[in-house]
């Protein structure tokens, strides 16, 4: 029951579209339950969500979450961050981001990124400024 309510809430937060999977499609509830640090937020959500969340219409679910957000921005914010934390580190979502933006679905190390070296010419203007600090 609780799991169904959570699943419905998560799908409302993070619905799928042609580019991105919805929360249910990647079983976000299961992923969140595997991450210790997210448990407190999940516990708060489980207490807060009505048992029949999954049976409500999409617009009702949205309204319920909006009401929670207004009444308890901190508790709700923690739940959203927990949901995003699990979602945006899921390989399927990272692959979707790579497809949409070119951002490589790989960790920052060990490859790092290439950047053009610093070029002195860029400070030509500020170099000409007069002294900008106060004598004491």
């Amino acid at each position: 029951m609780i799991t169904d309510s959570l699943r419905a809430a998560l799908e409302t937060l993070l619905p799928g579209d042609g580019r991105f999977p919805g929360a249910a499609a990647i079983d976000l509830v299961d992923r969140m339950s595997g991450i210790d640090h997210l448990h407190p937020a999940v516990a708060i959500a489980s207490k807060h969500l009505p048992a029949d969340m999954a049976d409500r219409s999409a617009s009702e679910r949205t309204r319920l979450l909006q009401a929670w957000e207004t009444d308890d921005p901190e508790g709700f914010g923690g739940f959203v961050i927990a949901a995003y934390s699990a979602y945006y580190t899921h390989p399927t979502v990272l692959a979707a981001i790579e497809a949409a933006t070119g951002y490589a679905a790989r960790p920052p190390q060990p490859a790092g990124y290439a950047l053009a070296p610093f070029d002195d010419a860029v400070v030509a203007v500020p170099r000409r400024h007069g002294k900008r600090w106060r004598d004491t």
């Binding site: 991450i35 961050i81 933006t101 960790p107 920052p108 490859a111 610093f118």
Partner: protein
Amino acid sequence: MGLDHTDVLVIGAGAGGAAVAWRLATAGIQVTCLEQGGWVDYAQVPSFGQDWELARQTTHHPNPNIRRLPVDYPIDDTDAAIKPLLYNAVGGSTIHWGAHFPRLRPSDFRVRSLDGVADDWPISYADLAPFYDENDRIMGVAGLAGDPGNPPRPKRPMPPLPLGRGAEVMAGAFDRLGWHWWPSDVAINTIAYGAGRGVCNHCGPCDLGCPVKARSSTDVTYWPLALNAGARLITGARVFEIETDPTGRPVGAAWYDAEGTVQRIGADVVILAANGIGTPRLMLLSTSSRFPNGLANDTGLVGKRLMHHPTGMVTGVFDEPLDGFKGPFACSILCQEFYETDPARDFVRGYQMQLVRSDGPLGTACGGYLPRVPWGAGHHDAFLEVFGRTASLTVTTEDLPREENRVELHPTLTDSFGVPAPKMIYSLDRNTQAMIRHGIASATRAFQEAGAIRILPQDLVVQAGFHLMGTARMGDDRDTAVVDGLCRAHAADNLMVVDGSVFVTVGALNPTPTIQAVALRAAEALIRDRRQIRPGAARSAA
């Protein structure tokens, strides 16, 4: 000699503790450092894994109340408008830091004389300059000489970091506005520098710990040198009391080892370097008949005058990819156009704007630099509109000291050993609020000039208590200061404090080079004047 006695005991192996331990050890003084954390294992840092951004939100969050590691102690921040960020390990908070490496300006040491507020430091920029230089040499600094915003300095040993597209765009805007800007001084290797250290590969999340050892942290800079020079570092050692003799003079410390067993060590000199929260906590914990209100707390100022750098943030969204996830997250360029007091403004003192690059996908979605991406039907479009297309300017303001902003002991909350935890009480004053408003307007103006298509301001970044200062202030007058200009406690001259606690005022920029320069200067004075240390300590000294 076993664990029973040391000439100098340093508590805390972070920025200040490492610097002081290195300098004393190289002078032949027997130094022992007690650190509650352990060494970072760079083979295990999260930036090698797909879940690196999750680690940033959880196990590697800079707020100890969120990451909740066994070595962390809780900090009650319910009455604090800005939340504490720090790290407990060899290297201290430099394990997490962005490595922005600026110096205070000369005027920052003369705030009372110049602007009629707060207090002057008992030391000047000129007093610290040689120690800033020495610290640069050990930590390694990349940057560019010739900044019109700061006193002349020698050429840095390494060139600045690559700007990246976002900084190029903003530099152009600053130029058109006629505003100051300059490439940031950073403690990041842009070319080979320092034994066993690599060169930055622009991976981005320096705060997860730099496996290349390009981003300086004191576990890879000072500590190897200090250990080589004979310093002893004991990890997993949570100090809970500075012990004193019947006259109130510190004689050593008591700590819990990793197994929870109480250990003790005697010392001729005790140096606190546990940071702006940890140090007042220890002083307040160490009561005696001589110091019923906490060690060396005759003034009642220990824990008071807590200062941060209250931070506003403005993010510009651009219609081109800026790839801000490439390059050290915190560092590229800064603008000090509004740094000094201007009587035409409705506040005294000033602020710096620091360009930060952008986040990975999770950081972008959760917000921080920009507001959280809204949930629901429009979520993915909103995410794609901002991801990789933003640059942000911090508005880093100068906080002024107020006694009501403070660290005290919590009446009931304790750490895992049952030692009372600290509580932060902190609010912003009107001067700071006015400064943040002005800064947000300035940053907004800069983004408009740069052609941002959307500009998203945030009044106050709450998770921004990374600079913890002022809680054991320095001063010549023993009635109004905890330590003197050489970091010696007025009320117990074999007790020293060498972290951000001693700051009298804080300027409007990152404090660590100043913490370390102050620590090196204090060490130099202790070496010169060894009265506190038993004669044997000088045996191998030059």
